[in-house]
């Protein structure tokens, strides 16, 4: 079989390396020969990238000499979500080409590629072009897209699992649909880490449309599928994952993991290169600082997160590659599959939030497959111990989180429609057929598509005032085309789906004395973070405590805080990733099953046993709601385990309902695990007088008017809307330099949002924003699923004092913006008092 599929000089090359071609590598060659698209699922390090390129290399090596004087055109397009494609590619593509002396030209095109080289690539296309999703969008919307891609044979999507669940993936799916039209013989190969539902990716990789969707489960049925190739499970040794059993006292709440720093440091010391993963930039900053305080032996510990200056990040990466570091504290920026060095230990601080993410991160350690990856989880509080336990169990049984089946975003569709008008005139019928062949858009109905088209043309408003200014027009030939070249120019400036929260540069200076614009740029922070501060506030950034002085133009001006200053603004210390539904279910199971507690540290199992004694532990399908008085307030605490975002939404809605029931709610607090609402009215007493009152609080209908009303005022919704407005092209992106235009003349999207809500509540952009809210910052979708699940299973436990399980969330109440040592001490004092309260009979 090997000789069948692998040409002799390839077989020779493999044996010269002392390698055996792997089963999945041969399988991909076979699929390609059979003219089939395929999805390869393989763990990191299984030779995935080489497997993806082999069919191309073989085909190009064997191709006959051409007589045609025209350039051959691109044969294979390789698309990666990362701009830094270089490292893996060098090893997996350029080496084999050089060593086998194959007549194949490879080039790269990213946002950094100079215009002159792009021009040359247009005139003399390489055989293989390595690029990013944004560049694909630019290329398929250019005037010469048709001739540029008509020879295209293959497209390889790397890290497909990381692209598809995002707007970036939506746009890529639409551009891919266009590529399929330009080159009907096009075959696709997707490379992915292990996922729970490969069918979604298989459907993504081929054109949909010639099937009838089943009305019973819209969105779930998959029509056409690419063939699935799974690398042998035993290729990779199972990971060795342990949970740090701290000798210190486990905190009740908080996310600092301060208690475990000495133990983390000891682990770093015992290994060659350790990656310390944390969930947020702020955690990264804090752990980094704490590790340096504990760094008695001058270990080389570096920091890597997305807000740091690019040059600084590159420096850290190259130092890692050269083996000059002992540890790197990093965030999701190092999640994806690039090898930076010989990592032999991964430490995950805080809860991993999802089994798939955990496996990805662990995959960073030891890229040789025969040796197990080694990882230590460091829970930062007691609930996180449960979550870590659940994640380890899931990882050991190879379970993955379910990806959310995704419906393509309408703002992305609007951007694409304009792009298609920029490349060539189109008929609405044809484009509708094309876009519904992309799996995420297979279910878009014609009316919605027409609404999007109207939006692109004139804004799609009921008041027809803009016909004269239409961006695209329907000609008498029945074709839509861009109105003028300026529209094309504008489109090309605004392409892409990554709308960074407007970033402000952090630099030294004072606003009154004029910005010290020569001051060193330390990195960037989100505008909304900067807006939460007032001059004099201190915060931690790039490993230093800084004093906020003000915002001038595009810069946050700061000064160095005096030594020993505690940063005042902790920002948001929790995870930004919500706890996956799958892990949440496991955590609920652990809670309900005392037999499983033997795997938990005694500090935690004792706590759960106490809960059983003082209140109760909900069964897996149940939602426990406790009510109790405390400090002249009445509390309601419940434990849905649906993640902070969903809980925040639920908390808002519960507060509204209690308000209406005249129970005078005063506030609420949400963690990843629980919600507490408190007020002046006795909720437990109301339930006693009016049985079923609490169950009714959680009725599904809260997602109707209450939600709509709340969304109207929510700042999160406005931010969501802004993103949609930028992607859809309603407002332009801000480019560096343009920020200098004062706010006086820029258009506020909040204003546009309010006007639309008042005048056109069904406008396509509001629909897009609502769809985002369902999965994004508000996680409404998850709240809906939960309300459905617990219907009829709400268990109320009236108590006279707080329950043990409620302690962590109660500690979050009224958290003063005290930071660091002081805050932890304060919290622990409070915890002591609270537990005292709990223990009283």
């Amino acid at each position: 079989m090997v000789t069948d599929l692998l040409p002799p000089h390839f077989a020779d090359w493999f044996s010269a390396k002392g390698w055996q071609p792997r089963g999945h590598q041969l399988a991909l060659i076979e699929k390609h020969r059979q003219g089939k698209s395929s999805l390869l699922i393989a763990p990191t390090g299984a030779g995935k990238t080489l497997a993806g390129f082999l069919p191309t290399l073989i085909e190009l090596a064997d191709r006959p000499a051409r007589n045609d004087p025209r350039p051959a055109g691109i044969h294979t397009l390789y698309i990666s979500p990362l701009k830094a494609l270089a490292v893996d590619i060098e090893r997996n593509l350029e080496k084999p080409i050089a060593e086998m002396k194959l007549p194949i030209r490879v080039e790269t095109r990213t946002g950094d590629t100079p215009a002159s080289r792009r021009d040359r690539q247009r005139r003399q296309p390489p055989d293989i072009l390595l690029t990013t999703p944004e560049q694909v969008a630019l290329m398929v919307s250019s005037k010469d897209a048709e001739s540029y891609f008509d020879q295209l044979q293959r497209v390889i999507f790397d890290e497909l699992h990381a692209i598809t669940p995002s707007k970036r993936g939506d746009l890529l799916s639409l551009d891919f649909a266009r590529l399929r039209r330009l080159s009907p013989r096009l075959l696709a190969t997707g490379l992915s880490a292990t996922v729970r539902d490969p069918e979604e990716l298989q459907a993504w990789l081929v054109g949909q449309g010639d099937h009838t969707p089943s009305p019973r489960s819209p969105g779930r049925e998959h029509g056409n599928l690419a063939d699935l190739v799974v690398a042998d499970r035993d290729v990779a040794a199972p990971p060795l994952i342990t949970i740090l059993e701290t000798q210190e006292r486990l905190p009740w709440s908080g996310h600092t993991s301060r208690h475990a720093v000495k133990e983390i440091y000891a682990a770093i010391k015992a290994h060659k290169l350790t990656l310390v993963f944390v969930n947020t930039r702020m955690q990264a900053e804090l752990i980094f600082q704490l590790l340096w305080t504990a760094n008695d032996e001058n270990l080389r510990i570096a920091l890597h997160h997305g807000s740091l200056d690019v040059n600084q990040r590159r420096k850290v990466e190259s130092a890692m590659g050269k083996g000059l570091l002992d540890a790197v504290v990093c965030t999701a920026t190092l999640d994806l599959g690039i090898d930076w060095g010989d990592v032999d230990l991964v430490i995950n601080v805080g809860a991993p939030k999802g089994a798939s993410r955990l496996l990805q991160r662990i995959g960073r350690a030891n890229h040789r497959l025969d040796e197990p990856s080694k990882a230590i989880l460091v829970p930062s509080n007691r609930f996180e111990v449960l979550e870590c336990r659940a994640a380890v169990d899931a990882a050991c049984s190879g379970e993955q989180d379910a990806a959310m089946s995704r419906t393509g975003a309408l703002d992305v569709l609007a951007q694409h429609v304009l792009g298609m008008a920029c490349t060539a005139p189109f008929r609405a019928d044809d484009l509708f057929g094309e876009i519904t062949s992309a799996a995420p858009y297979a279910h878009v109905d014609r009316q919605t598509f027409d609404d999007v088209l109207a939006f692109v043309a004139t804004g799609g408003y009921a008041l027809k005032n803009y016909e004269r200014f239409a961006k695209i027009r329907l000609g008498i030939d029945g074709q839509w085309r861009a109105s003028n070249p300026r529209i094309v120019q504008q489109y090309r400036m605004n392409i892409g789906t990554i709308v960074e929260a407007t970033m402000l540069k952090v630099r030294f200076g004072k606003p009154r004395g004029g910005a010290m614009l020569g001051g060193r740029t330390m990195g960037e922070v989100e505008e909304y973070f900067a807006e939460t501060m007032v001059p004099g506030d201190t915060f931690i950034f790039a490993g230093e405590v800084l004093r906020f002085e003000g915002i001038v133009e595009d810069s946050v001006l700061v000064s160095r805080a005096p030594p020993k200053t505690d940063p005042k603004v902790p920002s948001y210390a929790g995870g930004k990733f919500p706890l996956s539904t799958h892990l949440a279910a496991r955590v609920r199971r652990i809670l309900s099953d005392p037999a499983s507690w033997k795997n938990l540290p005694p500090q935690v199992s004792d706590w759960l046993a106490l809960q059983q004694l003082k209140s109760l532990l909900p069964k897996p399908g149940e939602l426990l709601v406790e009510t109790f008085p405390r400090a002249d307030r009445f509390h309601l605490v419940t434990y849905p385990f649906e993640g902070r975002l969903a809980h925040q939404t639920l908390g808002m809605l519960l507060t509204r309902r209690l308000e209406r029931a005249r129970l005078k709610p005063q506030g609420f607090v949400a963690s990843d695990y629980a919600i507490s609402v408190w007020g002046l009215g006795d909720i437990g007493q109301r339930e006693a007088h009016e049985p079923g009152f609490i169950a009714q609080l959680f009725d599904q209908d809260m997602l109707g008017d209450d939600l709509e009303e709340w969304l109207a005022e929510s700042g999160l919704m406005k931010r969501t809307f802004r993103t949609c407005a930028v992607i859809a092209g309603l407002i332009e992106r801000r480019f560096p330099g343009q920020e200098k235009r004062s706010r006086q003349v820029t258009m506020s999207t909040d204003l546009v949002y309010d006007v639309l809500r008042n005048h056109e509540p069904n406008h396509i952009l509001l629909r897009a924003a609502r769809a985002d809210a369902a999965t994004g910052l508000l996680d409404v979708g998850r709240v809906a699923d939960m309300l459905q699940r617990i219907k009829g299973h709400v268990v109320h436990k009236p108590l006279i004092r707080p329950s043990p399980l409620s302690v962590p969330v109660l500690l979050e109440i009224g958290r003063e913006p005290v930071y660091g040592e002081a805050r932890d001490a304060l919290l622990e004092d409070a915890a002591g008092e609270l537990m005292q309260e709990v223990m009283e009979n």
Binding site: G459, Y461, N465, Y466, Q744, T746, H759
Partner: protein
């Protein structure tokens, strides 16, 4: 539009700020609006940004309300009433009719601004670059060294107020005994934060009074409660 609205005294004239952003001078039965920026939405549409085409209708609707409430004899538009010189051509017929109906019964005074150096010729009313009425002088753009009863617009002042309950960014009147800068009246107008040095430089030793537009009334806010963006 509130019985207890505080008044502002500039160069001896008693003026009533309204939460809508307009200013009423009872002694003269004169209503003043600044920076309406009519047809700002369509100005963006010309450049390909299709903002909702409802701004002129909203601005004129607000204007109709304050006219009905104060019943002025004279209406003074303090410049930048139109977003650009072509604005009137782009205006929807309904809006144009409404605008005419609003201003025709009144003694209309147009101050020209940098956005509208020319007022559409078919509209009634006198045009002025600046205009003196009693102790007050009306001009669009505040002048650095003019402190004798100047009423101006142009800057679109907004205040960011921080309280225990949260933050609010809202339009504001900024004044001292000698001059006043009005907020923008237009529905789509952005704003300049009062903490900007431009504002400081207009007032003697950087001391000024601030009246912010709340949802139900005008509030006087001490200077130390204002924050930069």
């Amino acid at each position: 539009m509130d019985g207890v609205a505080p008044s502002i005294v500039v160069n001896g004239a008693v003026l009533l700020p309204d939460r809508s952003g307009c200013l009423f001078w009872p002694e003269q039965r004169l209503l003043i609006v600044a920076d309406m920026h009519l047809e700002k939405g369509s100005a963006f549409a010309v450049r390909g940004q299709m903002l909702p085409p409802y701004d002129s209708a909203m601005t004129l609707g607000n204007l109709a309300q304050v006219i009905a409430f104060y019943r002025p004899e004279r209406l003074l538009a303090l410049g930048d009433s139109f977003h650009d010189v072509r604005a009137a051509d782009r205006m929807h017929d309904e809006c144009r009719t409404k605008l005419l109906a609003l201003i025709s019964p009144l003694d209309m005074l147009w101050i020209t601004g940098n956005h509208d150096p020319e007022i559409p010729p078919d509209l009634p009313g006198a045009r002025h670059a600046e205009l003196t009425i009693g102790p007050l002088v009306f001009r669009h753009e505040p002048q650095a060294f003019s402190r004798h009863g100047e009423i101006a617009g142009h800057l679109h002042p907004v205040a960011k107020v921080v309280t225990k309950k949260g933050k609010l960014r809202t339009r504001a009147f900024v004044s001292d005994a000698t001059r006043l800068v009005m907020p923008a009246f237009g529905a789509y107008t952005g704003g300049l934060n009062l903490r900007d040095p431009i504002i400081d430089n207009l007032f003697q030793s950087r001391k000024f009074n601030v009246h912010v537009c709340g949802c139900t009334r005008i509030y006087a806010v001490p200077q130390n409660r204002l924050f930069a963006d």
